[in-house]
């Protein structure tokens, strides 16, 4: 009987103590919304972003910061209808001070209309449509647009001695910017674009296009595709024994490209903001954490973008703490300068576009390596 009473008092004391502890801790928790496609036909990208975000969050929690951060993930399926519903949901939640996402420019822009009206900072890791940052001052992106990448590639191809180039890209808003930015600069340098065409993403058979390209006998081919179409293209180039050098953009940078294409990917050149064999510490830590979490050999460009986006947001939160509101977060995001991301140092300019460096790379012996200048 006595024991029972002792246990009871002890238990109550513990409970009261446990209740009291959080009050003592007083760590505020900030919430960030993340809209991304976790299902549907772009799910593979969204799941990559979620993994990157969780890695970043893990590292943040272990770093002993004066506040906690929670990320609320919502599945947009890359569908505008869902995207705007999620945007409204985030806007309603007073605890959410910033939003990451979405994957496609279309959904990002539609959601941006809502974030603009409600006043919520939005940082997209991959939206590359030129109009995205023009919607309002609340929109940010940390991916280099083709406005930067296209001219760089044009210079590279011109410097490699190519004067006649064929250009193909997927028929999406991104693909359109790939072609226009590259072609403008290449022509300005004095080169000649002998062939230019778009293809539907998911095209299984590139052989008619390849045959057309081969007929025009260009010195090189500049391509705007993601890794799935890229693998098909490279395989079929080999089939048709077309040996014209292939250049591509940072969007092709994904280990899956090599897995799908095998030896046929050898020799493809591309620009990249992220190379996993970069010896910098933050890159190596990220690569190791990625391997541990997903079991994949290396992360691609897009997961690296997401990782950086999350960290940029966290860094802005840190600068805004303890007066974190949506407005103050937006201002701190805009003030991001030389943020040391794994995809390069990031600074947001007056239009909230990132200024980053791109490296030249190529596929050698089944891996992506930097090209010596």
């Amino acid at each position: 009987m006595k024991n029972r009473r002792h246990m009871l008092t002890l238990g109550t004391a513990f409970a009261l103590g446990a209740l009291g502890l959080p009050a003592l801790a007083q760590q505020p928790t900030y919430k960030i919304g993340y809209q991304l496609p976790l299902t549907g036909n772009t799910a593979q990208y969204g799941i990559d972003f979620k993994n990157s975000a969780e890695i970043a969050l893990d590292q943040f929690a272990k770093a002993g910061k004066p506040f906690k951060v929670e990320i609320v993930f919502e599945d947009s399926r890359s569908d505008t209808k869902e995207g705007v519903a999620i945007a409204r949901k985030f806007v309603d939640d007073k605890a959410i001070v910033g939003v990451l996402g979405d994957f496609t420019s279309g959904v990002s822009i539609a959601s941006a209309q809502i974030y603009k009206e409600a006043g919520m900072p939005q940082l997209s890791q991959t939206a590359s449509h030129p109009d995205y940052t023009k919607v309002s001052e609340w929109q940010f992106r940390n991916i280099t647009t083709q406005a930067q990448e296209g001219p760089l590639n044009a210079e590279w191809l011109y410097a490699s001695g190519y004067r006649k180039v064929a250009v193909i890209a997927e028929q999406t808003d991104w693909g359109q910017t790939v072609v226009s930015n590259f072609v403008d600069k290449f022509k300005a340098l004095g080169g000649q674009v002998v062939f230019s065409e778009f293809f539907n993403r998911g095209l299984a058979d590139f052989r008619p296009i390849i045959t057309k390209i081969a007929r025009d006998k260009p010195d090189a081919i500049y391509t705007g595709y993601f890794y799935e179409d890229g693998a098909q293209f490279l395989k079929q180039m080999k089939q048709l024994s077309v040996t014209i050098p292939v250049h591509s953009t940072s969007a092709s940078y994904n280990q899956q490209l090599i897995t799908l294409a095998g030896a046929d990917a050898e020799g493809m050149k591309l620009t990249a903001t992220f190379l996993p064999n970069n010896p910098a510490k933050n890159v190596q830590d990220f690569v190791a954490a990625w391997k541990a979490k997903t079991g994949q050999a290396e992360p691609g460009q897009f997961p690296a973008q997401a990782y950086d986006a999350v960290n940029i947001m966290l860094a802005a939160l840190e600068r805004a703490h303890p007066n974190v509101t949506r407005k103050s977060l937006r201002d701190q995001l805009a003030a991001t300068k030389n943020f040391p991301g794994v995809t390069g140092d990031t600074t947001f300019d007056a239009d909230r576009e990132p200024a980053k460096k791109l490296v030249r790379a190529q596929v050698k012996n089944g891996a992506f390596v930097a090209v010596e200048k």
């Binding site: 593979q44 299984a204 052989r207 098909q232 089939q239 799908l260």
Partner: protein, 302 residues
């Protein structure tokens, strides 16, 4: 000249792929007069089943083909049981021939195709899956100025085998006889003692088995498979069938070749993004101007 020849050859191989799918599809439609919207999904299931088999056992290609054939046949029978049989519970002539029933079966097979596709996506993920590189059927072979792939020859051989085999079965076996009877007059066939349910199940088994094998071969040919891969071949098979005169399998094959060649040749003049338009344009033109199909012999008005 070489350029046009090469495009023509590419078109032929594209057409062969469509023909593979069209054979099974036309068999089912020709016999039962029902549009099987889920045929494209059986094609996908065949490809993914092949992937699973390669990854777990890695047997030689012929064994995989046979297993996939069986898987496809079983899936087809199951599909028939779920999506088509329940609508045959009324056996009077008026109901069997009614428009409402045809539309109901179209929608039920469409619904099942959605379920199947989403199921595959949930299970495998929506990205491209690579089939083992060692088994892929695309080592190039140069014949004069044009290059083809060994996969082309295999697909050609398989279509030929399927076509010949089907003609043999239809003409010289009792199952084939009952299939022809049911396709001619289902009620009459039942009156003379043919087990219509079983015959229909056999038709589905054969047609779906072929569809699944088609999926596997095409997967190996292009080297990558994904859950939505069945949609476009399904539509093109339907177009080929309508063009070919609705119940003629050789007609469907020839029209599939025509579609493939037209797509490749069209890319000479316009960008490849307009390629799909070719098949749809053929569909509309055939439906409106050639209601009996290009090769005639339709059984009903379109």
């Amino acid at each position: 000249m070489d350029y046009y020849l090469q495009q023509l050859v590419i078109g032929l191989s594209l057409g062969m792929v469509y023909a593979l799918v069209a054979i099974g599809f036309t068999l089912i439609f020709g016999v039962l007069n029902v549009v099987n919207f889920a045929h494209g999904e059986i094609y996908t299931i065949g490809a993914f089943a092949g992937l699973l088999i390669f990854v777990t056992f890695a047997p030689p290609l012929v064994v995989v083909l046979l297993i996939v054939l069986a898987v496809g046949a079983l899936t087809g029978v199951g599909l028939e049981r779920f999506a088509f049989k329940p609508f045959r519970r009324f056996s009077d002539e008026a109901t069997l021939k009614s428009r409402a029933m045809r539309e109901a079966t179209l929608m039920s097979s469409l619904a099942l195709s959605i379920v199947a596709r989403e199921g595959i996506e949930l299970f495998f993920g929506s990205q491209f899956q690579a089939l083992p590189l060692s088994h892929m059927l695309n080592s190039p072979i140069k014949i004069g100025p044009v290059t083809i792939v060994d996969g082309d020859l295999i697909i050609f051989g398989t279509s030929f085998l399927m076509l010949a085999g089907l003609q043999f079965v239809l003409k010289y076996t009792s199952v084939g006889l009952s299939i022809r009877a049911v396709s001619n007059n289902p009620l009459g066939a039942r009156y003379v003692g043919i087990n219509t349910d079983r015959t229909i199940a056999w038709t589905f088994a054969v047609g779906s088995g072929m569809g699944a094998v088609a999926g596997l071969l095409v997967g190996l040919y292009y080297g990558a498979i994904f859950p939505a891969m069945g949609f476009t071949p399904g539509i093109k098979a339907f177009v080929a069938m309508v063009m070919g005169g609705l119940s003629s399998i050789p007609g469907a094959v020839i029209c599939a070749l025509i579609i493939g060649i037209s797509e490749a040749l069209s890319s000479i003049f316009v960008s490849s993004v307009w390629q799909d338009l070719v098949a749809y344009a053929f569909l509309i033109i055939t439906l409106i101007f050639f209601p009996r199909g290009i090769f005639g012999g339709a059984r009903e008005r379109v």
